[in-house]
Amino acid sequence: MSNEYTSAEMMTVTAAKALENGMTCFVGIGLPSEAANLARLTHAPDVVLIYESGTLQTKPEVLPLSIGDGELCESALTTVSVPEMFRYWLQGGKVDVGFLGTAQIDRYCNLNTTLIGDYQAPKVRLPGGGGAPEIATSAGEVFITLKHSKRTFVNEVDFITTLGFGRDGKTRDGVPNIGKGPTRVITDLCVMKPDPETKELVVVSLHPGVTRDDVIEATGWEIRFAEQLETTPTPDARELEVLRDLKARTERKHAGEA
């Protein structure tokens, strides 16, 4: 197998690497779920995956299409009620990492999955918060993964569905019993981390072949770059193989259904 890969694969593999073995991860559907399961199937076999449907420590053979696919329950250690999941496991402080996607993100890592435009007269109505608002505040830290574009990386989100660091970067300050918040954002172009002081997102690593201008072009604010800007390691052959197998299995399974 050649080591060529798509930018989507680069994003997923990089997001997967963020998860360490043994971490307990509350997984959002879509890109986070893909990355988390790739981590489990490669370097982090003992990563613990939790989905908001109540499935604890699940090991799906294929990627779930919904947050509550039967696959998640069948391969879980056990399945608890949704109130228990949010009360005991998330709010109870058992989650190391919340892994989220989003429709919009701003420079302070605030997430919008509610709507574009004004709340009372939305231009586009999005699905809403789901589990994210409390995942972002109760998990020890938060990883975010999404495709990079001016449509998604905006100067200020239209609505803060889910707290990054607030409109001024300070909203977490002094709040008791709150997690660290977002610690990294992984896109198809780069990896970003919040500045330790201001909490503004800073590019810390560019994916191979991506230029600063590419990121600037795709970001809705004047994006900053770390002084020590790194190059993201490329996916290795095994990571790509496992990812492609996973996606192929998933496609076959979902196509084959009823």
Partner: protein
């Protein structure tokens, strides 16, 4: 005490125009058959409660049954938007639907509090979110021991709840298994409850701590085979992911939706 009724009779008896209705099932065991029966009976002005409105509420909203929606995630899981919900919210078709929007954590706690007979749920929630600025049902209390400010939401206490489950025994005790969501809470929190089941059996064959809801805590049980389709019933049939994808095109257009509704609900007799 659970009475075995036809789905038609159960809905006719317990779902009134203007009622507050919760139909639960978290991705799994979504009570589609019951939803279709509500559409067929032309119920109006319902306040619909559900964590994840999903296709079932897209259909109810598109069919004009809903006046309000209380929810926390309104999408087509794994596919995208709920176009009928969006059309109602964005364009007011077939009429305006008022929305009360929460997070999953708050909704889950609100169901829990409803089952627990409390007027409010308390959670560490909504910190830094702007949802409280658009939903006046989100308030705060102060912990008298630590001074911590915690979110409070009204408990969910529907007039009637409808859920689907795998099976009932002949006394009306119901087993829910797999992803159990907030089904038990929905039933216990409601004034009246209707459970549709895949089948009625002699023995539930449940483990000692299984999620079994006693018949005396349920008002009506109706057999609805494949009553959760196109969602799934653990142990019975899988989710029809293709239908979920197809729904995107069906629901995107008012006419296609109307035709689908005619073919699959209005003219589909007792069960769709």
């Amino acid at each position: 005490m659970a009475e075995f009724l036809s789905l038609h009779d159960a809905v006719a008896r317990y779902v009134e125009d203007g009622a507050t209705v919760a139909m639960e099932g978290f991705t799994h065991l979504i009570p589609f058959a019951a939803g279709h029966e509500i559409i067929r009976q032309g119920k109006r002005d319902l306040t619909l409660i559900r964590m994840t409105p999903d296709l079932v509420y897209d259909q109810l909203i598109g069919a004009g049954c809903a006046k309000k929606l209380i929810f926390s995630w309104g999408g087509n899981p794994g596919v995208g938007s709920l176009h009928r919900l969006r059309d109602a919210v964005e364009k007011g078709w077939p009429h305006k639907v008022e929305i009360f929007e929460h997070s999953h954590a708050a909704m889950a706690c609100a169901f829990e509090a409803g089952a627990a007979g409390l007027p409010l749920a308390v959670l560490r929630g909504y910190v830094g979110s702007e949802l409280p600025s658009v939903n006046d049902q989100i308030k705060y209390i102060e912990c008298p021991f630590t001074g911590e400010r915690l979110a409070a939401v009204p408990s969910v206490r529907p007039d009637v709840s409808l859920v689907h489950a795998q099976k009932a025994d002949r006394k009306g005790n119901v087993l829910v298994e797999g992803i159990i969501g907030v089904q038990k809470e929905a039933i216990l929190a409601a004034g009246k409850s209707i459970v549709t089941v895949e089948e009625v059996v002699d023995d539930l064959e449940a483990g000692p701590n299984a999620c079994v809801i006693p018949g005396w805590a349920i008002d009506a049980i109706a057999v609805a085979e494949k009553g959760a389709y196109p969602s799934y019933a653990h142990g019975y049939y899988p989710r029809d992911n293709r239908f979920y994808k197809d729904w995107d095109a069906i629901a995107r257009d008012r006419d296609t939706f109307q035709t689908w509704l005619d073919d699959n609900v209005y003219n589909a007799g007792g069960q769709a």
